[in-house]
């Protein structure tokens, strides 16, 4: 039994069958990559995990509980955090405030009215947030406006915000999209470091094969809304079906 169990998931948008009969099992504490050509349904599938979309058929179970029909914030409170393709951060706030919000969400749940406490007096939250920033080497930038940072730093900050919640499952939607080679390698190192330090399961959607083969323990190849094969990176590399999906019938 994996931590994330996807059974017979199907999703249709008008005339387009975006997903059909998707079965997937992500093992606890593993790094599982989902790859596939453009339009294969990777992002649609991810959106079904986090509550942005509800599949027409099938089930998505996280830790033995169904996530279907739950709101994104409820699913997040169950222990699934998501990193977006373009970093979603609170750009009007400082780096420190960004991470503190995650710490508050973890401690206080989805809503708590505390209008007469003072952020600066929440020493445990401040310490947690500083520790988190230290872990991603951003402590020196804690007073910076999040909007004024480089894209690589924004990605790093988003990662810190997700990790500050101590999620069981981290979903990464093309974490290195649009990054220069050096930034990509930094991100790979960061993810490896995170994986070593804590018990966490990661599911990565990625185009960049370099990233996928550096990190993943299992790979699922998606094509036209259906899983083609699921195997270890070594076996995927030379798999004829994968080549066919990426390069077309002629290859």
């Amino acid at each position: 039994m994996g931590i994330l169990e996807v059974k017979n998931v199907g999703k249709r948008f008008g005339g387009l069958q975006a997903l059909s009969d998707v079965n997937l099992s992500v093992k606890e504490n593993s790094v599982h990559a989902i790859i596939g050509p453009n339009g294969a349904g990777k992002s649609t599938l991810l959106n079904c995990f986090v509550g942005k979309l509800i599949p027409d058929t099938g089930s998505v179970m996280f830790n033995g509980q169904s996530v279907l029909g739950l709101k994104p914030y409820e699913i997040n409170q169950m222990g699934i955090s998501r990193v977006f393709q373009t970093p979603e951060i609170f750009s009007d706030l400082t780096v420190m405030e960004n991470v503190m919000i995650s710490c508050f969400a973890r401690r206080d749940g989805s809503f708590r009215m505390h209008p007469f406490e003072t952020v600066a007096h929440e020493t445990d939250i401040v310490e947690q947030a500083e520790q988190m920033l230290e872990d991603v080497n951003m402590l020196d930038k804690r007073h910076m406006h999040a909007a004024s940072m480089s894209r690589g730093d924004k990605r790093r900050l988003e990662m810190a915000m997700c990790l500050a919640q101590n999620p069981k499952l981290l979903l990464l939607d093309e974490p290195t999209a649009g990054m220069a080679r050096a930034d990509t390698n930094n991100t790979i190192d960061l993810l490896k470091e995170i994986k070593e330090k804590r018990d966490i399961t990661m599911a990565i959607i990625e185009h960049d094969m370099h990233v996928v083969f550096s990190l993943a323990e299992r790979i699922t190849v998606l094509a036209q809304g259906t899983p083609l094969v699921e195997d270890t990176p070594e076996n995927i590399k030379g798999h004829p079906k994968v080549k066919e999906a990426y390069l077309g019938e002629a290859a």
């Binding site: 997040n76 955090s81 405030e97 919000i101 508050f104 206080d108 809503f111 209008p115 915000m161």
Partner: protein, 398 residues
Amino acid sequence: MKMLGLSNKDTRFLLIVIALTLLTPIILQPFPEGSSLAQFNAGYPDLMQRFAIFGIFAIGFNILFGLTGYLSFGHAAFLGVGSYSVVWMYKLLGYNVVPGILLAIVVSGLFALLIGFISLRRSGIYFSILTLAFAQMSYNLAYSVLTPLTNGETGLQVYTNDAQVLMGAGAPNSPHFFGIVMNESSKLNLGGWEFTFNNGYYFCAIVAILVFYLSLRIFRSPFGLMLRAIKTNQTRLNYTGLNARPYTLAAFVISGMYAGLAGALMASMDPLAGAERMQWTASGEVVLMTILGGAGTLMGPILGAGFIKYFENIFSKINDQVLHGWFAFLPDGLENFIIGVSHFFVGKSWHLTLGLLFMLVVIFLPGGLVEGGQRIARAFRNRKSKDDGAQARTQPAE
């Protein structure tokens, strides 16, 4: 210097605000009586009361609009509800303002809960339109449908045959706070100056200081941080396990209660309540005040409220006669021309001036008057540090 759970900086800030508020009757009376500039004085009770009351209205509005970014066009509805509550308490119990003010806060809070619960299902322009629709409905209800409750277009007021069950024999016959009558003042004549210390103003001022302190605490709280997070990125907020709806609803109710309190204070100064207080122009005014002063800043809304109320008062008092006095030194033709042009910007048409000022601020100072102040302060600091630098360089040469 730390006080009341505030940081050093905030404590200093609060003390400055308290000092300015309490000294307002002196600060706003800079010109001696009878001098030609006396018309620019603003130290009379009626105007100072309006500064404090609209300041409270704008501080509350800023908690919703400044922090969460949800632009409500219906906050005048809560203002009106507050006024009606107070006048009803006058009619039923007596002229002490306390029961009315408490009732106003409760009723406007409940009313805000209802309107907020429905309107906050949408965001952006749709939210604004929903609140506007609710406010206009409230206005029309108050104006005609609910006449037994609001006395329609005449407005609600106290009549001699009203119950006033708690009125003692010797109790004051106008709004008072445990015997302190609102419309009484003491005057102080110093040289050519005349200062008016009005009970009503000080009552409003102390309430304003209290609610300013509350808003300062909200700004610095985790709750305030969440509200700012809602303004900047709701997607990230949802995927960080936070539910935006109860936060925005709480902000909406709090700001509705502030508006109710402001309405209650209006009726505490002058025991009347009319439907026109709920009209959309009144809702729009508080939006202007907040943006003009600087949305999302602590001081902005208060500055904006003071600015608009001051200029409303000054410009609307300038009539053609005053203009003739000013431009008498010019040749006749030119004088008439200038007065003809100025005519459109003063007196009853002073809104044109307000519109122009508002446009200038929004275009050149998107952060409002507060940003203007910050820019000036920065310019001074830069010049000073440049001077210091110049001295540092020249000194070794000597």
